[in-house]
Each structure stands twice: as structure tokens, then as C-alpha cells.
Symmetry: C2
Subunit: 333 residues, 2 copies
DNA sequence: CTGTTAGCGCGTTCAC
DNA sequence: GTGAACGCGCTAACAG
């Protein structure tokens, strides 16, 4: 109640109020194992801490332990969609429940090199959408960062954390279209090269789905967000016998729809289209866009579990289940 | 070069290598005023620091000075668009050039209260999109946070940092439509109540623009992202003699366009529409959407200047110029 | 068992 | 230009 802060409340203040030493305060507040503190003392310390509004100084703790409770997430300089925004929001909550704080850092060319960043924040873990160099990884590890992950990127020794859900997305698109009776699929690949680390696993998933459903491999075409160019792609697909296309995301899907109209055709009768993300304008498309959504909350929980396990030195949790992705059926497919 | 890190490099290492005391290292590296260090010593310290790859521990510095170089930006739990994403990216760069590090924290209900957050990070400044309580503000100030700003929100004593650019956006929409000969405007207000802190200043700008251009006040209608409901709004506008509408953003604008089609009409002949943001799918709309964009880099630089000034105790810089906003002309208006 | 004393981690800054 | 203390929480060693 009495929160008439003027200066920072330190553990010394709590100790004084509870009539114990600072060490005791620390033991109580951290539930230190192998230290037995009487219930009475414990209660007095907890009460004092609460009534003073005590929050330990992260700086001091970090200085002492060599590692902060911050999980640093480096954003790429390429456009990230609302999907990633939602993921981060959920990740923030999931980490908070584990006593970790998410700090997101939007990259920018004018920025200092990332080494500056982690040296400055001494994070417990670093997540990134872009690749780290080997030198960077070893340097961070040496500096005490428990987990360093590139969420996406070329699948090397082990697959990336976010690959699985991306693959599931692509697979589900193919399954949905196959279920509608389509046998010849197209794949609308994004024009921005920087998106390939997301696009490749999605396309791989679609390929897998085609194999499973006994369909031929999809006809892949790059589709920029431009009606005229998209119309050319549509014409080419039609000439190849394609009757339905999986798009990298809803934006590309809407470009395909614009291309269909521009070509004087109609979706889904002339060409069915399915996107990814269910962005707000997907339902405003002409026709409203069928799309695949991901349960970002579930992915976030998995990611948080992976981070926590790495920090505690425990093995990583089981991968996300296949039902994190789901089709939102509208008129376009 | 020799960056074979194994442990953290500390100022003691630099001091040893340069053959001076730690105090001297600190003075050299911080360019401390009123401390005269000979050029020779200076050079040796700088060389040692560089060759060791020395980066001061932020934790120790924060512990000592009571304030970190982190600028904390709290995101709201309501959907933020790519506009804000771009702003943050530029802000990150602009702050970095001033020696400050941006840490973005996506809010979430499951999160701990924000007091936990700033107590833990001891940021130099806190920016937020939501309102702080008076108690929170005083507590943060007392804890050493130099600047606490709610970027948007009800304009109280002084207007919010981001109000001006929002007003300029709304004003420019009205001016553009007036320039096209329209005399009776509509305003498409977003359905999500949490967006009103952005929507209100935009609408206020449109009202100002109408006054300046000698037009009647705009006919305001709430437009959800749903074609059927949007069609009703379109019909009502038409009945009221409205020939052009300013939309809160591109998504709402695309809803209006969907409503126009649903009502069996055509844009821009039956109703002209102008959006805000120039999201990627705006050019894919039917017809392609005319919209207003903001130079987020300029806004970010202004914001960074405000933060820097507050930390240094200097007066705030001049507000952003009117030309941070610009019309992207396409077919819808 | 219960709790205390003491020193560390690292950059900053005052006094000599 | 240097020695030394400080900021604050953690934890090994130790006393009652």
C-alpha cells in the first residue's frame, strides 16, 4: 500500500523492515534450496517486500550472475507480418510466466552490429530470424548466452525452431485443395528474396502434401504484388492445367486473385486460391479468401519451453502438434 | 583481431594491457570532461580496448549510474499495423545513433504488470501507446526514468507525441478529396474501440481540413471489416449526398470498397475512397486504393530527438514538419 | 536448523 | 594520473 516511492527500494530496506539480514532476504525471495528459513521469518520478509513494493535490481543481479532474465529477439530488416507480431505477443506472455522478459529489437541498417547489442544486454537467450555467423555464435556462448537460435534459415544439422509449423502450413494447403478434388496445383512464391527462409519450408510442406495425396508436384511461380504480373502467372498456370494454387501468404494470394480478375476469369471456378495468415483484409478480398491460420499461442508456448529448457540445461520439449494449423474456409477455395 | 573470447573482457583487462589504472580507462572511454589525459595514454587505452574487443558491462554501468541506455517501448495489446512496425525499426536506428538501445516489449494479458518491467530494466525512458496512471508515472520518475510518454491517448495538458502526424494524415485526406471537387465527405471510423486514440486525431485532422476547404463536416460512420455491413454504410452515405470518404486506414478503406461493390456500385465514380498507410495489398484492391503514407523515418528521428533531449535535460526539439505525410494516388480517388 | 558475516562482480567517480 | 569506495544482490563460509 505505502508506495510513496522516492528512491529505489533495495533488499537492505526489506531486511531492515523485517529485522533480518540481507542474506536472509535473498534466501527467502529466491527460495534457495538447502537453506531452511522458519515460516515466521519467511512471512515477515515476504510481507516487508510486498508492502515496500520491492523489486530486485536487474542490474545488480545480472552483474552478479553474469546473465539477465532477458530473452532478446532480433527482428530482421525485412517486412514481418502480423503473424510474427502475434507470435511475439504470445511469446512475451509465455516467457513472463517463466520469469523471463522478452525484449524485441527491430533491426535496421543504421544500427550498430548485433554484437554490441548482446554485449550490452547480457541476455539469457537470443532468438533471431536471421542467420548468425559461427564466430558470433561462439562469442555469444562464451559470453554466457544459454541459447542462440535462428528461428528460420537453411535447414542445417537440425531443423530450425519455426520450420515445422511452416511445413505444416504448406502441407495443409495442399491437403485442403486435394480434398476439393483438385489434382494439379500451383504454388505462388513471394517476390521478396528475403522471405525465402519462410517460403521454402512452406513450399516444402506443400510438396510433401502433394506426395501424400498422390498429386504431381506443384507448378511454382513467383508472384509479385502487382495485378498485371499476377495475371500473367495466372494465364501460365491455366495453360499448364493448374486449377488451384497455394499462395505463400494472404498478400500473395490476393495478388493471385487480382490476377484472376485482370485475366477476365473468376475464382474459384477458373482458379481456386488458398492463402496463409488470415490477415484482416482476407475476408474483404474478391472473392473472400480461404486461408490457413496458425495457433501462434501454441507455437509461442513451445518456443518459451525451448528457451526455458536451454537455460536450465534440460532437454528441449516435444515439437508442436500438427493441429496448430487450421483452414479458414471462405469462397476462394 | 585476436577475439578468441572465453570470458568477458573487463576494464581491468584493458587497464592491464595499456599499463594504466581502471579509472584511467573509464575516463578515456567516456571522454570525461575536466579530466586531462595525455594523448599517448589515451591512444594506448583505445588500442588495448579495440584489440581486446572490450565492451563495458551494461549491468555494472547501470548498477552504478542507476540508469541504463535502454529505451523501453511498451506495445499495446491491440493490433498494431505495419506502420508502427516501420516506425519502431526507424526508431531503433535513430536511437542507436544516439547511443541508446530500443527494447520493444509486446504486452499481453498474461504478462506481469508493467511496473515489474521497468523496475527490472531501469530504462532511461519509457514510451507507450497506452495511458499510464498518475501513480505509475510518479513511481517511474522517482525510480530515475527520465522520460515517460504516452504516444497517443486523450489530448490532455499537452498533445501527445504522435498526435500531430495523425492529424496531418486526416487533414491531407480531406484536402486531396476537396481538390478532386468533392464537397460532401464521409469518414469511415474503425470498429475496434481500442483504436480510437489513433482514430480520433485522424478524424480531428479531417475535420480541420474540411473547415479549411470550406466544406461541411464529414458524415462519420463506423465501418467494420465486413462487406455486408460496409455496404449499408455506403448506401447511407450515398443517401446523404456523400461522394467521397476518408477511411481510418487502408483496411477500413478496403472494407468500404468491398461495400461499394456489394452495393452494386463502382468506385470512384459512385463513391471515392482514400485510405491511410499504403499497406502492400492496397494496390491489389478493386480499384487500387489511393492512400496517405507517413514518412516514419522522419517521425522516428523526431521521437529519438525528444528522448535524447529529455535524458540530457534539454528542451524538446521542434515538431515534425507537415510534409511527413504524402498522398499515393491510385484509382480509388 | 537458522540466520549472519563477508566478499565478489564491474564500471564510475571522489579525493589525493 | 591513481587508490579506493560505492551501487546491489548473490552465496560460500561460519556462528549460535
Amino acid at each position: 500500500m505505502a508506495e510513496r516511492n522516492t528512491k529505489r527500494v533495495t533488499s537492505a530496506d526489506v531486511a531492515r523492515m523485517a529485522g533480518v539480514s540481507r542474506a536472509t532476504v535473498s534466501y527467502v525471495l529466491n527460495d534457495t534450496p538447502h537453506q531452511t528459513i522458519s515460516a515466521g521469518t519467511r512471512g515477515r520478509v515476504l510481507d516487508a517486500a510486498a508492502s515496500l513494493g520491492y523489486a530486485p535490481s536487474a542490474a545488480a543481479r545480472t552483474l552478479r550472475t553474469g546473465r539477465s532474465d532477458v530473452v532478446l529477439c532480433l527482428l530482421p530488416d525485412w517486412p514481418i507480418g502480423s503473424e510474427v507480431g502475434a507470435l511475439l505477443t504470445h511469446l512475451s506472455g509465455a516467457l513472463a510466466r517463466r520469469g523471463l522478459t522478452l525484449a524485441v529489437h527491430p533491426a535496421s541498417r543504421e544500427d550498430r552490429p548485433i554484437s554490441e547489442l548482446w554485449k550490452v544486454l547480457t541476455p539469457a537467450a537470443v532468438l533471431a530470424f536471421e542467420e548468425f555467423s559461427f564466430a558470433e555464435i561462439t562469442a555469444m556462448r562464451a559470453a554466457g548466452v544459454a541459447l542462440v537460435v535462428a528461428l528460420v534459415g537453411p535447414a542445417r544439422p537440425e531443423p530450425r525452431e519455426l520450420h515445422l509449423s511452416q511445413r505444416l502450413v504448406g502441407r495443409l494447403q495442399a491437403e485442403h485443395l486435394a480434398g476439393l478434388g483438385h489434382t494439379r496445383l500451383g504454388y505462388a512464391y513471394p517476390d521478396d528474396d528475403r522471405l525465402r527462409y519462410f517460403a521454402d519450408p512452406r513450399l516444402a510442406g506443400t510438396r510433401e502434401g502433394c506426395v501424400d495425396q498422390g498429386l504431381a508436384q506443384p507448378e511454382v511461380r513467383t508472384v509479385p504484388l502487382d495485378p498485371a504480373t499476377a495475371a500473367e502467372a495466372v494465364t501460365a498456370w491455366r495453360a499448364a492445367g493448374v486449377t488451384a494454387v497455394c499462395a505463400y501468404n494472404d498478400e500473395v494470394a490476393m495478388a493471385v486473385l487480382a490476377g484472376v480478375r485482370r485475366a477476365g476469369l473468376n475464382a474459384p471456378v477458373d482458379l481456386a486460391v488458398i492463402g496463409v495468415d488470415d490477415i484482416p483484409v482476407a475476408r474483404l478480398a474478391e472473392p473472400p479468401l480461404t486461408t490457413v491460420t496458425t495457433d501462434q499461442a501454441a507455437v509461442a508456448v513451445h518456443l518459451a519451453g525451448t528457451v526455458e529448457a536451454a537455460i536450465a540445461g534440460r532437454p528441449a520439449p516435444a515439437p508442436v502438434p500438427a493441429d496448430v494449423v487450421r483452414v479458414v474456409r471462405r469462397e476462394s477455395a
